[in-house]
């Protein structure tokens, strides 16, 4: 997944990191294209292998109770379709790209939830922000985002992990909201998340490094076609 360096989005990203009255907020607003890196290809291969093995086990299993997570309908659609599995892979790859110290390949499709209404999701994020006393106009933010990824054309998935799997889950985390907006036509994914932490006592907080590190500067795999040239594409 290739991270898009967009200055106006970067501005939104930094504005989502602030101290509210009773908690510290760390947010992310990042857009990635679905261009595969070497790591993504490895991830896809891992998932496909897991799928094939489970399918084999399912077909040879004589037990009527054998429940296979791949055969259940998932939030991404029917998992026996490769396009569905590909979408799931994109979401995991986005998480991996955004949190380079983590590996989300063990997640299951059912860890996510398909949101049906864009308005609900926007409302939910706006409410969270306004509850935190954030005075910047939430509407302005959505307009800017919409210029880079047409929101109305997106499939939306939400992710609420338990604190073990949460990338910021280190005891100080109070609440979190994470959403993925996948625009298939534009081949882009918007990852927007908000995490609230209790105020640190010594002035040094959790997630500090994550908040200010630039994603996408992961592996400079020269075998891959594009390497460390980060072109600031305004509209790719």
């Amino acid at each position: 997944m290739k991270f898009l360096e967009l200055p106006d989005l970067e501005a939104i990203n930094s504005s989502l990191n602030f101290d509210a009255d009773d908690c510290r907020v760390r947010g992310k607003c990042e857009i990635y294209t679905t261009k595969s890196t070497v790591a993504d290809k490895k991830l896809y291969k891992t998932l496909e292998t897991r799928y094939q093995e489970d399918m084999m086990a399912l077909s040879t299993s004589k037990s009527p109770e054998f429940v296979n997570s791949w055969t259940q309908p998932s939030p991404f659609g029917n998992l026996d379709q490769s396009s569905t599995r590909r979408t799931f892979m994109f979401i995991l790859a986005t998480l991996n790209a955004s949190h380079p110290d983590h590996d989300f390949s063990s997640l299951q499709p059912n860890d996510f939830y398909k949101e049906r209404f864009l308005s609900h999701v926007i409302e939910s994020i706006n409410t969270t922000l306004s509850n935190l006393g954030r005075r910047f106009s939430a509407n302005g933010m959505w307009e800017v985002i919409d210029r880079h990824i047409v929101l109305s054309d997106c499939d939306i998935y939400s992710y609420t992990p338990d604190s073990d799997s949460d990338p910021y889950g280190d005891g100080a985390l109070i609440w979190s909201q994470s959403y993925f907006f996948f625009n298939r036509n534009m081949k882009r994914i918007l990852y927007i998340s908000l995490h609230g932490f209790r105020m640190p006592i010594d002035g040094h907080g959790p997630g500090d490094e994550e908040a200010f590190s630039t994603p996408g500067l992961v592996e400079s795999d020269s075998e891959d076609g594009y390497n460390d040239e980060w072109i600031a594409n305004m509209d790719d």
Partner: protein, 301 residues
């Protein structure tokens, strides 16, 4: 390999061999002087130490305020000396994390190296089969690295209760059933063909099992190949206690299965008072009292 050892000056060889023999413990300056003071003079000692440190045959470590030395195996030293500086730093931190492993985020913080540098080093070390990545049950998404040859600690793997990062619920339930049956069999006399509530032992019965007895018995049944420690068995018994199936006896060491009774017991319905037509007039000094109650006599007999 031994060629390299023999190329060391005599003093250095003596020091190195002394430290090697002390593994996995470290050796202080004092130890060295005491052990080798007669064979190696002070200047030779410090020159040799510097030589060994330079060849990476000794690791300097801090124990409290003092500096100590730990020998490094010859082949490991050879690997480390072929690494570039950054890789050496990364390798040493991973080595220092022992069988807990170290998270890449912590590695970056401690080494102060950039993400791309650390990743490059990790890739190189992995390709040389010196380190491997592992998964922790406490933090399933973290990328954790440790030395290739070490086995992850049970904190990381979850011990016997986890298989492939997942809690093996069936295994635990089966073990619980078996342990419960054993405790129950020791807590109440066998009913033979009676049905109904459990019979009771008399007050001076002392056959209730302790944790150690349960552990020994479980091992003797060979019900599983997995080696369960006393602590593991204690955890199982604790779960049974929290489930309300087993209770810890007042002596603090033995356990007793909770008595299974026929139907439900409710004091109000069990005692005759619930059905007694004279309940309203029954009092200690009244016309009828618990002391003189006929129904009680019948009930208690």
């Amino acid at each position: 390999m031994s060629g390299e050892l023999s190329s060391l000056p005599k003093a250095a060889k003596l020091i190195y061999e002394h430290c090697l023999a002390a593994l996995p413990n470290c050796v202080t300056q004092d130890d060295l002087s005491k052990a080798l003071g007669r064979k190696v003079n002070v200047t030779d000692m410090s020159n040799s130490l510097n030589l060994l440190l330079g060849k990476r045959l000794l690791d300097p470590l801090h124990q409290g305020k003092s500096l100590v030395y730990r020998a490094v195996q010859l082949d490991e030293a050879k690997w480390v000396s072929t690494m570039e500086g950054d890789e050496q730093i990364v390798y040493n931190f991973i080595k220092g994390s022992g069988n807990e492993g170290i998270w890449t985020k912590t590695l970056k913080m401690k080494t102060n190296l950039h993400m791309t540098v650390v990743n490059r080093c990790l890739k190189s070390l992995e390709s040389k089969n010196l380190v491997k990545s592992i998964k922790s049950v406490k933090h399933p998404t973290r990328k954790i690295y440790m030395l290739y040859d070490l086995a992850p600690s049970s904190e990381i793997t979850g011990g016997p209760w986890f298989t492939d990062q997942e809690l093996d619920i069936e295994f635990i339930n089966n073990l619980k059933k078996v342990v419960y049956k054993y405790i129950h069999s020791k807590s109440y006399p066998s009913k033979k063909n009676h049905k109904g509530s459990d019979l009771l032992w008399s007050v001076d019965y002392n056959g209730y099992p302790s944790a150690i007895q349960i552990h020994d018995w479980l091992r003797s049944t060979n019900i599983t190949e997995v080696d369960l420690s006393l602590a593991n068995v204690m955890s199982l018994v604790d779960v049974l206690v929290y489930d309300g199936k087993v209770e810890k006896r007042p002596d603090g060491t033995t356990f007793r299965a909770v008595r299974q009774v026929e139907g439900t017991i409710d004091g109000y319905t069990e005692s005759p008072c619930g059905k007694c037509p004279l309940n309203d007039v029954c009092a200690v000094d009244g016309p009828v009292s618990p002391m003189t109650c006929e129904y009680f006599d019948k009930w208690l007999m």
